[in-house]
């Protein structure tokens, strides 16, 4: 091993400084504060009236959401695994398109479609009164977790010779159910663990959905109570509650990640590759695409149509016909500060994506050997709940940066670093070191080799990383709702505040605008993933 060269050393120093500044120092500060508050304060908080209900609510809703999501995602992935590629693509599109709708917009759109006074209520007198409440929270969290869970389970099924293994079991005398229980399920265990952990963490840390559907029904979760205590409460004891809730969320996340990671050790590998014809006599599978499309329609299309119609209507309760359509709601939204919020969100998204891109690119160039541990650390940082990061950053930088856009940016970089790091590192792993070496042998200096070989090969991954961070930052709500101040409200926060003021049509208009922004920024991403064969 040669000693690191001087530019390399400076690169590392820079990376470590940023990591310490945006993640290490704030989290350390939060831990110090929690410990400093002392066990006395903690027990006082937990002894207070209703202190446990947000924690209990978070645990049971997240557990239920995880179970339902895994069952549904596995059912879809397994029943559609034998389909031809055209129908599988249809299923893939129907299952993953909802990713483009921000979770709290999805919740708003369900209210617009199925809630009391919603589209179906006006049209045929059908509404779901339980939508505002715990059941609604659970169902919307399931809807939002489905795409990722499906992608993970589906990838696991496609990556091994699952079909031949099940066929061998059938020939050995197992009926379809027995073959599923003894072969498919054990083989899916790692994927189910991974998607289960992600679903649980995402649900426990979700803020948008419980804020829209839980809070009006006085159903608090850890994240919504934390928001109320930090942003809305003037009670000085509230800050102790914030610390306890943040500690709870952080520790629970660590435990879930740790348990999933430990049970994932010794993954079962399979060397066999699938062979033989794809066509199976899965009669159930033939109806699966229509079921998935129906699911897509009910959970995503109808609500979104209802939201758009709400944003266009002259007044709540009018028939959704073109004669009652107007664009006034959009004008009103801009009048109430949406313009500057849009500028804030756009700036934050562009800057956060660019910083993450620089850090990710730098890291890949510096990391001569992969697995230096920075990747794992970054992944862990993404698992840290947004609420916890926000509280930590507020503690660390609040005295100087409270209510500024900059403090939100710091938290965004901490949160989204992992998101951007993964595609870049994955792509860099696929580039063999010989390519770089061949450039050096051909007479290129280190920097020239990076510029002419590494960067061009990484370009798709770099673009993907930038776009994905941009998309997530554009509709981010958990962090910004805790850190915004006068003049630094993001678009998502503005939607939430408008809703609390009780103007459904203007809220809908703004939510539609936000979704359009996310969809537009996703278009080059989808086009690119097609072109680079990411999206099979």
């Amino acid at each position: 091993m040669s000693a690191p060269s001087i530019p390399r050393l400076w690169g590392w120093v820079m990376i470590v400084c940023v990591a310490v500044a945006v993640v290490g120092f704030p989290i350390f500060d939060l831990a110090r504060e929690v410990i400093g508050a002392g066990s006395h304060a903690v027990s006082e908080v937990l002894g207070g009236e209703g202190a446990w209900s947000p924690i209990v609510n978070t645990i049971w809703t997240s557990s239920l959401v995880t179970l339902l999501t895994l069952a549904l995602a596995t059912a879809v992935a397994v029943t559609t695994s034998g389909l031809d590629s055209r129908r599988r693509l249809l299923v893939l599109v129907a299952m993953t398109t909802p990713l483009l709708v921000p979770p709290f917009v999805s919740a708003l759109s369900w209210v617009a479609a199925y809630g009391p006074g919603g589209l179906l209520d006006d049209g045929i007198g059908v509404s779901l009164p339980w939508l505002i409440g715990p059941l609604g929270v659970v169902i919307l969290l399931v809807v939002n977790a489905m795409p990722i869970a499906y992608l993970i389970v589906n990838a696991a099924i496609r990556s091994r010779a699952e079909r031949d293994l099940v066929r061998a079991a059938r020939i050995s005398g197992a009926n379809p159910l027995r073959a599923f229980l003894t072969i498919t399920l054990p083989l899916l265990r790692p994927a189910l663990l991974a998607s289960g952990a992600i679903t649980f963490i995402m649900s426990a840390n979700a803020f948008g959905v419980p804020a829209v559907l839980g809070t009006p029904a006085r159903f608090p979760t850890a994240t919504t109570r934390l928001y109320q205590d930090l942003v809305l409460s003037a009670d000085p004891a509230a800050f102790d509650r914030v610390l306890v809730l943040a500690a709870f969320l952080g520790i629970m996340t660590l435990v879930v990640v740790g348990v999933a990671d430990m049970s994932k050790r010794n993954p079962i590998r399979s060397r066999t590759e699938s062979s033989g014809p794809r066509l199976d006599s899965h009669h159930a599978g033939r109806r699966a695409p229509s079921a998935v499309v129906a699911y897509f329609g009910v959970t995503a299309v109808v609500p979104m149509v209802a939201l758009v119609l709400t944003s266009l209507t002259r007044g709540v309760g009018l028939a959704p016909t073109p004669s009652n359509w107007t664009l006034d709601n959009f004008g009103e939204a801009f009048a109430s500060g949406a313009g500057s919020a849009f500028a804030t969100s756009l700036t934050l998204a562009v800057v956060a994506a660019s910083v993450v891109l620089l850090l990710g690119g730098l890291l890949v160039v510096l990391e001569r050997r992969r697995r230096t541990g920075v990747g794992t650390a970054a992944a862990l940082a993404f698992a840290v709940p947004g609420s916890v990061l926000a509280v930590a950053v507020l503690l660390a930088y609040g005295p100087w940066l409270r209510d500024t856009v900059l403090i939100i940016l710091i938290a965004y970089v901490a949160k989204f670093w992992a998101l951007g790091h993964r595609p870049i590192a994955g792509s860099a792993d696929a580039i063999s070191p010989e390519l770089f070496g061949a450039a050096r042998i051909s007479g290129a200096g280190a920097l020239t080799a990076v510029r002419t070989i590494t960067v061009p090969l990484l370009r798709p991954a770099l673009a993907a990383a930038w776009l994905i961070v941009f998309m997530f930052a554009l509709h981010e709500i958990t962090i910004s709702s805790l850190l915004y101040g006068p003049g630094s409200a993001t678009l998502a926060v503005t939607v939430l505040n408008l809703r609390q003021l009780g103007d459904p049509t203007v809220t809908a208009a703004l939510a539609v605008l936000l979704t359009v922004g996310v969809v537009v920024s996703a278009i080059p991403f989808v086009a690119m993933s097609r072109r680079w064969g990411v999206n099979r």
């Binding site: 010779a161 293994l165 066929r167 061998a168 020939i171 050995s172 066999t272």
Partner: protein, 351 residues
């Protein structure tokens, strides 16, 4: 009472979209018989086995196993009730199960007690020479060992019919021959019937009682190994079933079951086909059917010494001919060599 064949397929047709994979295929496998299906990749070998096993539904046709219809219209018998055992090309071992668990699996599904199944699995694995590997996962086994575990699993099912999907395709030559012999020994001991697919002619000829040639979803020729090798129906089949040299000749006489063909100025008696006197034919000559030293003249164009024998490629006025003879090379490249033809098979001329 008439003994039903172990397998009977009638008019079997399978389409994948617009592609006709099996085309009105008929096939019978008698009790305790092994039939090998020889065909290039894409000829429908795997599809046929999958249809017989019940892993895909044929579009048309009937399948009977041991006289019982298993695929006829909508009343298809599911794979677990068809009494077939299958050895997969890619082994298809379950990555989360040890060899012993894998072999016990079919017996457990039949309701055999756990202890009994374990004992039986151990016996089968030992019989196949992998008894000491019983606790290993597929991951920890070599290709040949995996294949033996796959075979033990098929044997454990005690089926009426074994299906072998290119079971030796991924193995090296030595291991392949050892496994082929073991397969035949197993079959003789258990007395079951087997359908065996391969694209390796030597393998098909060695293991089977009958060899069928599968081309574009149809069985174009079926018969004893010596028939398929010695009397292929056309040039394509001749090349599929082994090394084939063709010399152009002309039929000069035909009486009884023999015909006289003149080639390179000599006359050769061959089994009679539907050849017409005066018509040109291609004479198929396998490497062992011609010898050096003889009345015919040629020039040695290529030599290949392989240890036990030497292959000579001899060019003549009627075409090129490969001769295999034991011992060291006796000519140099470019030298004239005399040779004689011991045996030949007349094929119609194809353009």
């Amino acid at each position: 009472m008439r003994i039903e064949p172990s397998l009977r397929c009638r008019g079997l047709t399978v389409r994948f979209g617009d592609v006709l994979v099996l085309d009105q295929l008929d096939l019978e496998v008698a009790r305790a018989e092994t039939v090998a299906l020889l065909g290039p990749s894409g000829s429908g070998k795997t599809t046929l086995l999958y249809a017989i096993a019940g892993l895909l539904d044929p579009d048309e046709g009937e399948i009977e196993i041991d006289g019982k219809p298993v695929a006829r219209g909508l009343k298809a018998v599911p794979p677990e009730h068809r009494s077939v055992g299958m050895v997969f090309q890619n082994y298809a071992l379950w990555p989360h199960m040890s060899a012993a668990q894998t072999v016990a699996y079919p017996m457990r599904r039949r309701g055999v007690s756990e202890a009994e199944a374990a004992a039986m699995a151990d016996r089968l694995l030992t019989m196949l020479g992998v008894g000491e590997l019983a606790e290993r996962l597929p991951d920890q086994l070599s290709g040949g060992q995996q294949q033996r575990v796959g075979m033990a699993r098929a044997l454990a099912a005690e089926p009426a019919l074994y299906l072998f999907d290119e079971p030796t395709a991924h193995l090296d030559a030595t291991l392949r021959i050892a496994l082929q012999q073991e397969l035949m020994a197993q079959r003789d001991r258990v007395g079951a019937s087997a359908l065996y697919t391969t694209h390796d002619a030597a393998e098909a000829l060695a293991v089977a009682d009958r060899v069928g040639v599968l081309r574009s979803g149809k069985i174009t020729q079926i018969g004893r190994p010596a028939e398929i090798y010695g009397q292929p129906m056309d040039r394509w089949t001749a090349r599929l079933t082994g090394t084939a040299s063709l010399l152009r000749g002309r039929v000069v006489e035909a009486n009884g079951d023999r015909a006289l063909v003149s080639v390179l100025g000599a006359s050769l008696s061959v089994p009679r086909t539907d050849s017409v006197i005066g018509e040109a034919v291609d004479l198929l000559i396998r490497p062992g059917w011609a010898v050096l030293d003889g009345p015919l003249e040629g020039v040695v164009e290529r030599l290949r010494y392989e240890g036990p024998h030497t292959d000579y490629l001899v060019t003549t006025a009627a075409g090129a001919l490969q001769i295999r003879q034991s011992g060291l090379p006796r000519f140099d490249v470019g030298e004239a060599a005399g040779f004689g033809i011991l045996q030949a098979w007349a094929l119609p001329i194809e353009s």
